[in-house]
């Protein structure tokens, strides 16, 4: 049985320095192109956001307040999962480690996920789900319009396809936000509460970091803050018609894009990844 370290244990810092000197004698491992890394990161941010939001809304399947809503929400979830396949495939390609879209979706832990926090927020009532969708759609629509002009033709192509789908998502979520905001007293109250509750999770969409700056400099993606004005305008227009008050606070929760999530993501992943984790390597 190994004994516990005692006072004669050599200085660990010296040992580490020694080890580092030996290691540096080995040939240098090629480092990934910093620009490529930011590019694959950007693609994960897109694909993870569509995946996690698609997952959340698919939880409604069979439980919506009207048959038409079951159909429409399943349709939106389907579009988002389809977009996920495209973004994550490209992320794997750009990353260059041979990981497929499924590998990325099913075999990463939460800290490697890059989705916006708003996507993992629990569904709440149907109004909450619709408000989350509206806030996201209004941003997603602007983002895809900008990405359709990306310097990378693969990104531009996916964005053009996804943009058509998301234009419809935004039309639908705006319409319902207006009708429920300006519906009964109760529907108005629920929509206002949802907006107030989600507001601090919306700002993250517009906060950039060094990686965003890198891809923006290369013309691959817009600077996140550049999407704010158009988003504000959409909100102003729709929420006014809905007779809802835009909250005043400007505080924004952030961290999702860097892999620091809320507690909810771990549960989403443990459910989503169950089969791949329980039966490693099986083909489905």
């Amino acid at each position: 049985m190994p004994s516990l370290p005692d006072m004669t244990t050599p200085n660990v810092a010296d040992l580490a320095r020694e080890a580092a000197q030996t290691a540096s004698a080995h040939p240098a491992v090629p480092q990934p192109d910093a620009g490529q890394e930011a590019f694959s990161e950007m693609l994960l941010r897109l694909g993870d956001s569509t995946l996690i939001l698609g997952h959340r809304i698919s939880e409604w399947c069979g439980h919506s307040p009207a048959l038409e809503e079951d159909i429409a929400l399943a349709n939106v979830a389907l579009d988002l999962i389809g977009q996920t396949q495209l973004w994550l495939s490209l992320a794997g390609e750009v990353e260059g480690k041979g990981r497929s879209a499924d590998d990325l979706a099913y075999l990463r832990d939460a800290w490697d996920f890059r989705n916006l926090l708003i996507c993992e927020r629990p569904n709440g009532d149907f109004g909450h789900t619709l408000m989350r969708q509206f806030l996201f759609d209004a941003w997603h629509h602007e983002l895809l319009k900008a990405l359709a002009a990306s310097s990378d033709p693969r990104v531009a192509e996916i964005a053009a396809k996804a943009g058509k789908e998301v234009a419809y998502h935004l039309e639908r979520s705006s319409d319902l936000v207006v009708r429920l905001g300006d519906g009964t007293e109760e529907s108005h109250r629920r929509m206002q509460e949802a907006l107030d509750d989600l507001w601090s999770y919306a700002g993250e969409m517009f906060i950039g970091d060094a990686k965003d700056a890198e891809v923006a400099a290369r013309g691959i993606a817009p600077d996140p803050s550049s999407l704010r004005a158009a988003w504000d305008q959409t909100l102003q227009h729709v929420l006014t018609e809905a007779t809802l008050q835009i909250p005043e606070g400007s505080f924004a929760h952030k961290g999702g894009k860097q892999g620091i999530h809320t507690e909810h993501l771990g549960y989403i992943l443990s459910e989503m990844q169950f089969l791949q984790r329980a039966y490693p390597g099986a083909s489905w």
Binding site: H63, A66, A101, F126, D182, E186, F274, L275, Q276, A282
Partner: protein, 330 residues
């Protein structure tokens, strides 16, 4: 087919029929379609409402056992396929409620009857989906059994029902192939996947046979429905056809149908097979299946929790109409 034990009025002999009823029966016998605004016997209308309503309810309750695996689907592609499938089921519900509406009953009225336990949905959806292979088995066996009944119903006498069936059948046969594709993958997969596939067949075989309803000798409502071409084949005919079609498919997968008495019968050109446990069937119909409480509970909750949503939309529509009204009056 998602209609079982649909009550029909007693069969009338020709001499008991009114002249209108005779003319009506003759139209059906000539293969003409009956359209919503045309005269029809009250019994025909009521039987159709029960049958189409039960079918519609089955489509929407049927979203639940499959929806149970959407968040756990093993790949992005499987997830997308399953989402699309469950969405199709909701769409079928919508066509069918619309077909029922042409007979003078609203979707909300039918929903309320379902929630109050006064209308049924197919017994099959009261069984749980416990593994991913169950999603394959539901597509293969449950949609397979449904198609067996719905293909002939494309020729049913009531126009809107017949047209809904034509559309639904196209989608259902696609679903069945998708289900079988899942089973193929599982049957050719790891030992655990094969075990899941066999286990799914073991659990779904008899409930799938029950979908056709009790044996003809115990099926009291068939004769009038068949005369009206609301029902085209007997329960036993369809069950036999289903078994004959499905057994070779199971063999191809390398799976064993859980019936030791299953045997090809050369004389009848079909399989001999064991009857399902009908006492289990009647228990499930009576509310004692493994998932009855969960399924109906989920639908009632969705309806009740969504009341504010539906009321909100109605209120908005009324406000809009009121805002437009003075303009229209000028």
């Amino acid at each position: 087919m998602y209609a079982q034990l649909v009550k029909s009025e007693g069969m009338k002999a020709r001499e008991e029929m009114s002249p209108e009823e005779i003319a009506f029966q003759e139209r059906i016998d000539r293969g003409e379609k009956i359209e919503p605004k045309e005269w029809m016997p009250e019994g025909y209308r009521k039987t159709l409402i029960r049958q189409i309503g039960q079918h519609a309810h089955s489509e929407i309750v049927g979203q639940l056992p499959e929806g149970n695996w959407i968040t756990r689907a093993p790949t992005l592609e499987r997830k997308a396929i399953l989402l699309a499938k469950v969405q199709d089921e909701a769409g079928h519900g919508l066509y069918l409620y619309s077909a029922a509406e042409t007979l003078g009953v609203s979707r909300d009225e039918l929903m309320e009857l379902l929630h109050a336990g006064k209308m049924k949905y197919s017994s099959i959806f009261n069984y749980p989906t416990l593994t991913w292979a169950d999603i394959g088995a539901v597509g293969w066996l449950v949609d397979g059994a449904a198609i067996m009944n719905q293909v002939p119903l494309q020729r049913t006498s009531f126009g809107p029902y017949s047209r809904a069936m034509i559309r639904i059948c196209k989608e259902e046969s696609f679903h069945q192939r998708q289900g079988y594709a899942i089973m193929m993958k599982m049957a050719q997969g790891t030992p655990e996947q094969k075990r899941m596939a066999q286990d799914a067949l073991n659990r779904f075989w008899y409930p799938a046979l029950m979908m056709f309803g009790p044996s003809d000798k115990d099926s009291v409502h068939s004769a009038q429905s068949m005369a009206w071409k609301i029902k085209i084949n007997t329960n036993d005919e369809l069950r036999q056809k289903f078994v004959d079609q499905t057994v070779p498919q199971a063999e191809y997968l390398g799976l064993t149908v859980p019936d030791p008495d299953l045997k090809w019968n050369e004389d009848k050109g079909g399989y001999d097979f064991s009857e399902p446990d009908w006492s289990e069937f009647f228990e499930v119909i009576a509310g004692n299946g493994p998932c009855n409480k969960d399924r109906l509970g989920a639908r009632v909750r969705a309806w009740e929790d969504g009341a504010w949503f539906r009321e909100g939309l109605m209120a908005h529509a009324e406000k809009q109409a009121a805002r437009r009204a003075p303009v229209a009056a000028e």
